[in-house]
């Protein structure tokens, strides 16, 4: 459940970032496409990293074993 919600959040943030770039620097169709590509690539990279770390912790096979000092 938490996975899909956060994925949705990432998508929303991505869309907002695209809109912001379109509003701030609107320099013609080819430049706009370039900025769009950059934002989408960044969003996908960030999402992928978060998703990997989240999925790895969903059903853990090992658990933290505290060391003696704690």
């Amino acid at each position: 459940m938490g996975f899909f919600v956060t994925t949705l959040t990432f998508i929303v943030i991505g869309i907002i970032a695209c809109l912001c770039t379109r509003v701030c620097c609107n320099k013609g169709p080819s430049a706009n496409l370039f900025h769009l590509t950059l934002v989408i690539t960044a969003t996908v990279c960030c999402w992928m990293m978060w998703a990997i770390v989240y999925l790895a912790q969903m059903n853990p096979l090992i658990v933290p074993i505290l060391s003696e000092g704690e």
Partner: protein, 819 residues
């Protein structure tokens, strides 16, 4: 020339700007001005049409010699100014319309004047130094003589008193003779020489004098306290004043020669006391006179150099510009019959209007009757690659170009490098504390942008400043990955929710043996803070990071293959689509895409399957039952199918393409035994240079071997490149371990002593270690590895990189070349 696959809209920076070969015919009288205006625009790369001629045979060689002469004079001035410590004033914005001839005359005059002043100054200085030495000699030698005279007087008084006392018959006769001899003053006439000898050589001087005259000289030396400036060498040397007494002409000539050999300067000395005093007064007067003259001379020179300094930047710019204009003019071919110059060059298509405007302006300004003619030529030559970058994208494009400049109009990896390069860096760097430090450092650079871009910086500083936007993105992504890895100088925080792990029972009795259990929901953002410091931290993190590296690697390699697909579409190359792109996708995804899928399924289901086992036995014994390694239904069948498809993909990549290329070549050149004659063109003699290679050779064996190498590279590379991405894991592990060591073994240790001094020392050591090892060394290391991953693993899927860069004739770029 460009065969467009026009179904995708154009994207900035994705492919090179369209370029075309242009020809400009310029009348001679407006040639210089035209080239000057074109240099201002900076959008044409001229081709050298006179490449067979040596530099001396070219038309404008004389002009270039003049410019070189002027440049030499300017260098001379700069030298003189730096010796006299005069600063160059900054370039004034006034656009002085200097003519080259005027400048030549002016600079020639200034040079003559400066050399004259310098020569005079040297002469005066020399005389001054000699006079100073002479004064010293007069003073010191005067002392000798005074002392000697007083001693002689004392001795004489003694002897005479002796004589007076002993005037009796008992005194021996000999003694009488002796004293009489002394008294009668039948003294041998001694000559003497005075001068200065360098202190270092004074011992050797004395020795050689002694030996040469067989001991028949009397030398007195006295050292001078401060160093004197030697007249001939102009340096400060420690010297001794010497007086040497000798008898005889032969001794005198020997001593003279020895003085010359030792560089000892001799000065005349009068025995007479009164004359000595006179000389000293005279010399002192002359010294003060000379000093005023020399000072006046130096002042005059300083003024001259000041005036030069004000205009120096302007002049040197002008000379540089003129030289480059004449170099360019030398590249144009001259058409004597039509009294005009022909220029050929590459220029981007979008610049056509600008160039034509500049040509018109030049025609008007040079008051020429005929305008320049501008036309586009058609050629099969490969144009240079030109990307219109701004200050942000320029550094990323430099990174890509360092490996190889993109071939004309192939997909530019720079577009994706802008994001993936800092991202991969951040995966290896992952610490939001360090990320913030780097962010602050590069924000400083960015705020001081204007100031630094006009200054001349050292090598390392220049590289760092040039890459400030790369570092900015690296820092931002590092903060993000630091939050995900949950490391702030290696310390985790519970930022987003309490940790998901808790003790099994209230007493936490089994926390150190069996461990905690997962009671709450998964930690929502990043690695759970409970892991840090636990005994099972490394097995968990290693497994996580290794799998993450594989997933990221497979994603990036797929992106690379997809870019090769876009290239194939753009260049209308269906062979590459069907017989390269598709089998490559099947092979890579059938094996490593499948592995990625298994990883994700294992995470989602929490199964205990051993993925190593699954992958290896997929190859070794694909028909065996999977047993407890089963992750989903029908896995065995799926694996068999994928294995079969991958095996088919290899000959699919290797065999069809060479045969198809051969068939295409045969159908294109059917029945063509001769190369066709050159068609009639309206343009001038330049056409013979183009289309000389219209008839391509087709060696089947060569093409086949090329395809074989490509296939082997891809197949083996699929394994090795995927494994290569494991460096993402390795470096991030190293970073986090180093960070932990510095934190626990330095800072916490210092804190434990409860002593302020130890705490301060510990803090300083911690800061130096963090900055030196983690912020500098690790940054460079992660930068290098991210670079390698891009250059090799990403780009070898699609990038050819054998183009050449567009290098236009531009005055703005001249300044960078010269320095």
């Amino acid at each position: 020339m460009a065969e467009h696959g026009g179904c995708f809209p154009p994207m900035d920076l994705f492919r090179s700007e369209p370029m075309h070969l242009v020809q400009v015919i310029i009348p001679i009288e407006s040639a210089r001005l035209t080239v000057s205006y074109l240099g201002d625009i900076g959008l044409i790369q001229f081709k050298d049409l006179n490449s067979e001629k040596s530099p001396f045979q070219r038309t404008y060689a004389g002009q270039i010699k003049r410019c070189a002469e002027l440049a030499r004079k300017l260098r001379f001035f700069k030298d003189q100014m730096s010796k006299a410590d005069i600063k160059l004033s900054a370039k004034s914005e006034a656009k002085a319309e200097f003519n080259l001839d005027d400048l030549e005359v002016k600079l020639g005059d200034l040079e003559a004047e400066l050399t004259e002043i310098n020569g005079n100054n040297e002469k005066l200085q020399r005389s001054y130094n000699e006079l100073v030495e002479y004064k010293l000699v007069l003073q010191k030698a005067g002392e000798f003589f005074k002392v000697a005279q007083s001693r002689a007087a004392a001795q004489q008084a003694e002897v005479s008193s002796e004589q007076a006392a002993e005037e009796s018959l008992e005194t021996p006769l000999l003694k009488d003779q002796e004293s009489t001899t002394v008294d009668q003053g039948k003294q041998v006439k001694l000559g003497f020489l005075t001068g200065l000898v360098p202190k270092g050589r004074s011992m050797a001087f004395e020795r050689i004098l002694f030996r040469a005259t067989r001991g028949n000289v009397f030398l007195r030396q006295s050292s001078v306290d401060e160093a004197v400036i030697d007249p001939s060498s102009g340096e400060k040397v420690e010297k001794n004043v010497f007086v040497v007494f000798f008898s005889g002409e032969r001794a005198k000539s020997k001593i003279l020669k020895i003085c010359e050999a030792f560089g000892a300067n001799r000065y005349p000395f009068a025995e007479d006391l009164s004359k000595q005093a006179q000389m000293i007064i005279e010399v002192s007067r002359r010294i003060s006179e000379l000093k005023t003259t020399i000072d006046a001379g130096l002042l005059h020179r300083a003024n001259l150099l000041e005036t030069i300094g004000q205009q120096y930047e302007q002049w040197s710019d002008l000379v540089r510009k003129e030289k480059s204009i004449y170099h360019t003019l030398n590249m144009l071919s001259i058409d004597v019959t039509k009294k005009c110059l022909v220029a050929e060059g590459w220029s981007p298509v979008f610049a056509t209007q600008q160039i034509q405007d500049a040509l018109k302006l030049a025609t008007i300004d040079s008051k020429s009757q005929v305008g320049a003619i501008f036309q586009v030529l058609h050629t099969k030559e490969l144009p240079p690659t030109y990307f219109r970058t701004n200050k942000f994208t320029e550094s990323f494009q430099t990174i890509v170009d360092a490996y190889g400049v993109a071939k004309y109009q192939e997909a530019n990896p720079g577009v994706y490098t802008v994001v993936t390069f800092p991202f991969l860096f951040a995966v290896m760097f992952g610490d939001w504390g360090h990320g913030i430090c780097i962010l602050l450092a590069c924000l400083f650079l960015i705020f001081k942008e204007k100031k630094y871009s006009s200054q001349k910086l050292g090598d390392i500083m220049e590289m760092t400043f040039g890459g400030r936007y790369v570092i900015l993105l690296m820092a931002l992504f590092s903060i993000y990955t630091g939050l995900i890895y949950n490391e702030f100088f290696s310390v985790p925080f519970e930022l987003f929710s309490p940790s998901a792990y808790a003790c099994r029972d209230d007493a936490c009795s089994e926390a150190t043996t069996i461990g905690l259990i997962k009671t709450r929901d998964t930690y929502p953002f990043g690695v759970d803070p409970a892991w840090h410091g636990s005994r099972s931290e490394l097995p968990f993190l290693n497994s996580l990071k290794m799998k993450m590296s594989i997933l990221i690697g497979v994603a990036q390699m797929n992106l690379g293959i997809i870019l090769s697909f876009f290239n194939a579409l753009y260049f209308r190359n269906p062979v590459n689509v069907w017989f390269q792109f598709i089998p490559q996708m099947i092979f890579l995804n059938g094996l490593f895409g499948y592995l990625s899928l298994l990883i994700i399924v294992k995470w989602c289901t929490g199964s205990k399957a051993d993925l190593y086992h699954v992958m290896i036995y997929m190859f070794l014994s694909p028909t065996d039952d999977l047993g407890e390694n089963q992750l989903f239904a029908n896995q065995k069948t799926v694996q068999l199918v994928l294995l079969l498809l991958s095996l088919i993909a290899v000959p699919w990549m290797l065999l069809p393409k060479p045969f198809i290329l051969k068939a295409q070549h045969n159908s294109r050149h059917q029945g063509q035994s001769y190369t066709p004659l050159e068609g009639t063109e309206e343009s001038l003699q330049v056409e013979t240079a183009h289309d000389s290679h219209g008839h391509e050779e087709f060696e089947f064996s060569e093409v086949f071997v090329h395809q074989l190498i490509h296939t082997i590279e891809f197949v083996l590379g699929a394994v090795s490149n995927t494994a290569s991405y494991l460096r993402l894991w390795a470096l991030s592990l190293a970073h986090s371990e180093l960070s932990t060591v510095f934190y626990e073994k330095v800072l916490l240790l210092a804190w434990g002593y409860n002593n302020v001094i130890i705490l301060i020392i510990g803090g300083i050591v911690f800061i130096f270690a963090t900055v030196g090892v983690l912020l500098v060394m690790e940054t460079l290391s992660a930068f290098l590895h991210a670079l390698r991953l891009h250059w090799v693993e990403f780009q070898n899927k699609f990038y050819e990189g054998d183009g050449y860069k567009f290098a236009p004739f531009s005055f703005a770029l001249l300044g960078d070349e010269d320095e």
